[in-house]
């Protein structure tokens, strides 16, 4: 198993169906609903629309990773290290436009092998619904990064 594969927990290209399906409630946050093109997963994701814009019918690559270190060494998920930003070492984030950090807070099982994974990025939520075979790398209560870039 290559190091990149261990780092990446899930990767897919999503097509955005709708922005704010329940109506826009927050000024600076949009909720997008998207469909995965390869694994057919449903995605619901909150993102800061003030600093990053996405539109309906756009395609984006979404990666869930357990660390940003390219060599795959595990990240310290508990505290902020301001020195890291000055080191200029290449990280996984360099290839992406929008990166968030958070934790999985709920994994629940729907019928027929479908699991629902809920992740919170400091209150910005993400819900990934899909077949368990593709999502089994994502462990309950783990901390992870989400990385997005537009295609």
């Amino acid at each position: 198993m290559s190091s990149a594969a261990r780092v990446t927990l899930f990767e897919d290209i999503f097509e955005i169906n709708a922005l704010n399906p329940e109506g826009k409630k927050f000024e600076r946050v949009n909720r997008l609903s998207a469909k995965g093109t390869t694994f057919d997963c449903d995605l619901l994701l909150d993102y800061n629309c003030q600093i990053y814009s996405l539109h309906e019918e756009e395609k984006m690559t979404l990666v869930l990773a357990s660390t940003l270190n390219l060599d795959g060494s595990p990240d310290d998920h508990t505290s902020y290290n301001p020195a890291a930003s000055f080191k200029n070492e290449p990280t996984l984030a360099d290839n992406y436009e929008y990166v968030m950090h958070g934790r999985v807070f709920d994994v629940s099982y729907k019928k027929d092998g479908v699991v629902v994974i809920a992740i919170s990025f400091g209150g910005l939520l993400c819900r990934l619904t899909g077949d368990q075979r593709h999502l089994s790398n994502i462990l309950p209560d783990m901390r992870l990064f989400i990385l997005i870039k537009k295609d």
Partner: protein
């Protein structure tokens, strides 16, 4: 936080005495040198030893006095930082009205404390005065800080809800900070973190939620940092709850579009905005409660402390939060909308006018159990009520997100959507006692209206908003204020129930006894649990939350899950262990709760796993819902047991006093006097303090007795009508077409013609024969008028071949009075003859309920006569109850009355939304019934419960009791609370319950030890 009660700069005469020891001698020397005029100083030195004397420091050489200070001397010093004081605000309605604080002496002459502590004192800052007491002995200081300390009284003993909690501005700040779109850059985040601390603890900065394109932290991360500032905190909170703005129709839980589902994982706020339910008072699901229960009161206090610092600094320096007239000015669009609503409303009001017209013509359809006027009022109430509602909804919709009144209403800090809509749109219908404004002038509300006018404005409908301004007549349509007199009366009533309960305490054998050692309850509340420590529905442990907590704090990733049977077996084995078996018999329901919880988990496991056989997949599926490893089960059971054991009441606890306070303290909240009974608009019941008083006094006559009767066939409306007709009192006058005088040459008689059509319609079982019987025999339990008693068999005859005609001849034989007069008297008496039904019943109403989609009927009977109603054909006597306690006692016995007392009080409390633990009610009903009959808590009832003369004299009619006692030479054992206070002795309750008992000279044969040491008799 609340350790900072503040006090005036120097206060010469307010201090406490401190004994000199080698630890404080230098400090006290300083005090002595300062003398009485410099703070911190001392007033008096008491030299102990051979030639002890007191020396005032106002005069003489203080340096010398300081130098001569020896260990063992006593210095009367000024109050200083860290002293324990008692703080009190009148009215002292419950035990939380007096609590102990730690002093921090500051400048100026006002008391200051954290506003979170305002709620238990019911204090505000509009000129309130409070009292402070400084305990003088170490014992008093110790007891005050342990038992009365604010930390130990964060929750109300009424039901365990937190009472010391965030309010007002704190809620607004929490709500704003935890909005989903609140982002802070590094500088701002660190500033906020610095705000909530005192720089005495480390704060770990978490990884920002958004790393790229710029590092941004969310408001929820700030909140997380407040709950758990650094990694060294080993107390975690885990819970999920619905916040006020949760959209329950969507059922999206964490993904609620309003962000209303609050979830904490290991002290990390994962989703949801924080508002009143999470950190406000009166919520048992929220963060404060979980902190209080799982992490201890200190942690909850620290949280409030941090948050109050953050709140004032955030609002003061960064955000600002104000409200002005512009915030409630309706926009042009809204004005038009309101106009539209009101004009369609006026069409609706014309619907109302139509209803009024129908009423005038008498064609209005009657509502069940109402007369024409009541029906009209109900129709109008509905229409006019909706008008304001729809105008208000439009107003709320039009408000932008940042509107401050809207924010306040949403997070629960102040105001409600109703207030906002009244300011912006329409004040709406004014109601007094559930009805439109009553006439204050002759036949009209105000002299501006026509006589008997029933139109909307004439009956108090206010179309203007507070913004647009009220017209003169609208302004007058107000509701009466609640007067201070009523408050005082309620307080008096509270004190009377307190008198009867004050001396009850839990003894070491777990029984509740009064000061005369009479057993009131063998086990307090049937399970010896403290109402203050109940988590959920009067039960000690909330298992779902505990489960979440265990799975988060002990993830045990290396252990394997216990499958269905293994799990239930394991739990069964554990529950058979001694530590659990010891809880029996009181803990039986607790053990059953544990078993049923694990049964549910096992069932859930089977469902979730299904046919899956991949171990990794199984783990992922069940991890967050029903995974239980060996360690987790052990930990779960251990923590449940700890919670249960902690929740047991301690011996000595004054359960009676807390119970009485819990029942009487909410009295001030019960304002509206009458309510509709079970949704039946025509049936009003007395509620609130008057009703509470009826129950507690054990009144023989209550103002609204209502019997709720279950029917044998509860799905049949026609059947219900028949039963109703059999119960409801029907008089002869109501079912006769005419009662006419007939004079002929031979004789004269009264001819009665029954209205057979009406009888048929009302489903009555009456014909001429039964009427004849009723005239002759009357109904049981009712005294018949003298004229009717004079009637004999031969005088009342049924017309042959007719079922509807009767003749009543005038008895002439014995009577002295002229026949004509007798006849007139008969004519007056006959319409009142009860031909069917129960005489004590005024009215019965069929009430329709939907039970599982199908209509179900039961009867509400206004009046007394429980036995008769139970015995009526068609009524299911086993499920028939009344709200009349004394009647329950007479009909069903004292045990039923006991149950009835607590269920009736509980009914009142739920009507006002006041939560009260059932154990308090049980205790009250036991006190009222433990003598074998229902004794009201009045001076007569209390006299039967207790023998102490002093106690009775202190209650009511002081001199009468004292004279009486003197004449009969009665003795008083001085055991109760009142007596001890009068005599100035410590009360044998709580910490005064146990005494140091020393074995006397004869060790072989110890005297039986009374649980309370007897003292000398008063009038020996």
């Amino acid at each position: 936080m609340y350790s900072r009660v503040l006090n005036f700069a120097r206060y010469r005469n307010f201090g406490s005495s401190e004994q000199v020891s080698r630890y404080n001698i230098e400090k006290l020397r300083d005090r002595v040198r300062n003398g009485p005029d410099t703070w911190p100083g001392a007033n008096i030195v008491r030299i102990t030893g051979e030639n002890s004397f007191s020396k005032s420091l106002a005069f003489g050489d203080r340096e010398l006095a300081a130098a001569n200070l020896r260990v063992g001397d006593i210095v009367e010093r000024h109050m200083e930082d860290g002293d324990i004081v008692l703080f009190n605000r009148q009215p002292s309605l419950h035990k939380l009205s007096i609590m102990s604080h730690q002093v921090k002496v500051l400048q100026w002459r006002t008391f200051r404390f954290n506003i979170c502590v305002c709620a238990p004192y019911n204090a505000d800052f509009d000129g309130d005065e409070m009292n402070m007491h400084l305990p003088q002995t170490e014992e008093a200081r110790g007891e005050a800080s342990m038992l009365m300390g604010v930390h130990h009284n964060l929750a109300t003993p009424r039901n365990g809800e937190p009472l010391v909690a965030c309010s007002q501005d704190f809620l607004s700040a929490a709500y704003l900070i935890t909005q989903r779109d609140q982002f802070f850059d590094k500088g701002m985040f660190c500033t906020l973190c610095a705000y909530f601390g005192l720089a005495d603890e480390q704060i770990d900065v978490p990884i920002p939620a958004i790393i790229k394109p710029v590092a941004l932290w969310t408001g929820k991360q700030v909140f997380t940092a407040i709950v758990r500032p650094n990694r060294q905190c080993d107390q975690f909170v885990n819970f999920e709850m619905k916040e006020r703005n949760y959209n329950s129709s969507k059922k999206m839980k964490h993904f609620c579009p309003n962000d209303g589902w609050v979830a904490f994982r290991n002290s990390e706020l994962v989703s949801g905005n924080i508002a009143k339910k999470t950190i406000g008072d009166g919520s048992k699901t929220g963060l404060l409660y979980v902190l209080l229960r799982d992490c201890g009161p200190e942690e909850a206090a620290r949280f409030m402390d941090r948050f109050s610092k953050l709140c004032s600094r955030y609002f003061g320096m960064h955000r600002g939060f104000s409200i002005g007239i512009s915030d409630v000015s309706p926009s042009a669009k809204l004005k038009k909308m309101k106009h539209d609503i009101l004009s369609t409303g006026y069409q609706k009001v014309s619907v109302a006018e139509q209803a009024i017209k129908q009423y005038d013509e008498g064609t209005l359809e009657l509502r069940p159990g109402c007369d024409l006027l009541q029906s009209l009022e109900e129709v109008l109430n509905g229409i006019l009520g909706k008008l304001r509602e729809s105008a208000g909804q439009e107003a709320m919709k039009a408000l932008p997100w940042a509107n401050t009144p809207r924010i306040m209403a949403e997070c629960g800090s102040k105001g409600s959507p109703l207030n906002i809509s009244q300011m912006m749109a329409c004040v709406g219908q004014q109601a007094v006692g559930g009805q439109r404004i009553q006439d204050g002038f002759v036949n009209r509300t105000l002299p501006h209206f026509a006589y008997h006018s029933l139109t909307a404005p004439a009956k108090g409908f206010v179309a203007n908003s507070f913004f647009s301004g009220l017209t003169a007549t609208e302004f007058m349509a107000g509701r009466p204020r609640r007067y201070g007199r009523e408050n005082r009366r309620d307080g008096l009533h509270g004190s009377s129930s307190y008198e009867a309960l004050e001396d009850l305490s839990l003894r070491y054998d777990n029984s509740v006894r009064n000061s005369e050692n009479t057993v009131v309850q063998f086990t307090y509340g049937d399970d010896s649990l403290d109402p203050e420590k109940m988590e959920n529905n009067d039960r000690p442990v909330q298992f779902d939350r505990l489960h979440l907590h265990i799975t988060q704090t002990n993830p045990c990733p290396d252990e394997s899950n216990l499958l269905e049977d293994e799990l239930t077996d394991k739990v069964k084995r554990c529950l058979e262990e001694d530590r659990f078996q010891k809880l029996l018999p009181n803990g039986k329901s607790f053990l059953a709760e544990i078993t049923s919880f694990f049964d549910d988990i096992a069932k859930k496991q089977t469902e979730t796993i299904g046919t899956c056989d991949d171990a990794v997949h199984i783990e992922q599926r069940i991890w967050n819902s029903c995974r239980f490893t060996e360690t987790q089960v052990n930990e779960f059971l251990r923590q449940s047991l700890t919670k249960y054991t902690k929740a047991l009441v301690e011996p000595g606890e004054a359960v009676g006093a807390t119970g009485a306070q819990s029942i009487s303290e909410p009295g001030t909240q019960m304002t509206l006097k009458t309510f509709h009974f079970a949704g039946v608009s025509s049936m009003n019941v007395t509620l609130g303090v008057p009703r509470l008083k009826e129950i507690i006094n054990g009144s023989k006559n209550i103002s609204t007795p209502i019997i709720t009767a279950k029917l044998v066939q509860d799905n049949n409306k026609v059947g219900a009508r028949i039963v109703k007709a059999g119960i409801e009192k029907t008089t002869l006058g109501e079912i006769s077409i005419c009662i006419k005088e007939v004079y002929s040459s031979s004789d004269c008689y009264l001819s009665i013609q029954l209205d057979m059509k009406a009888i048929e319609q009302l489903r009555l079982n009456i014909d001429a024969v039964s009427v004849r019987r009723c005239i002759l025999k009357g109904t049981r339990g009712q005294t018949r008028p003298a004229v009717l008693r004079g009637l004999l068999e031969k005088h009342v005859l049924v017309k042959k071949g007719s079922k509807s005609k009767l003749r009543v001849y005038v008895p002439t034989d014995k009577s002295d009075s002229p026949t004509y007069f007798t006849m007139q008297a008969l004519k007056v008496a006959l319409p009142g003859v009860i031909v069917q039904g129960i005489s004590s019943v005024n009215r019965a109403v069929i009430n329709e309920e939907s039970k599982g989609g199908k209509p179900s009927y039961h009867l509400l009977v206004e009046g007394c006569g429980l036995a008769e109603v139970m015995g009526s054909p068609g009524v299911d006597g086993k499920f028939t109850t009344t709200n009349h306690i004394m009647e329950v006692e007479q009909t069903l016995g004292v045990e039923a009355a006991r149950t009835s007392i607590s269920s009736e009080i509980s009914y009142i409390m739920t009507a006002y939304g006041i939560g009260i633990d059932s154990r308090h009610l049980m205790l009250l009903s036991d006190v009222m019934t433990f003598k074998g009959e229902v004794l009201g808590i009045t001076r007569f009832g209390v006299a039967k419960m207790r023998e102490s003369v002093l106690m009775l004299a202190s209650f009511e009619k002081t001199t009468d009791h004292l004279f009486d006692a003197a004449v009969h030479g009665r003795a008083d054992a001085i055991n109760g609370v009142s007596e001890c206070i009068i005599m100035g002795i410590p009360v044998p309750i709580g910490t005064g319950l146990f005494k140091l008992l020393k074995r006397a000279t004869r060790p072989s044969e110890p005297d039986p030890v009374p649980s309370v040491v007897k003292r000398g008799l008063l009038l020996q």
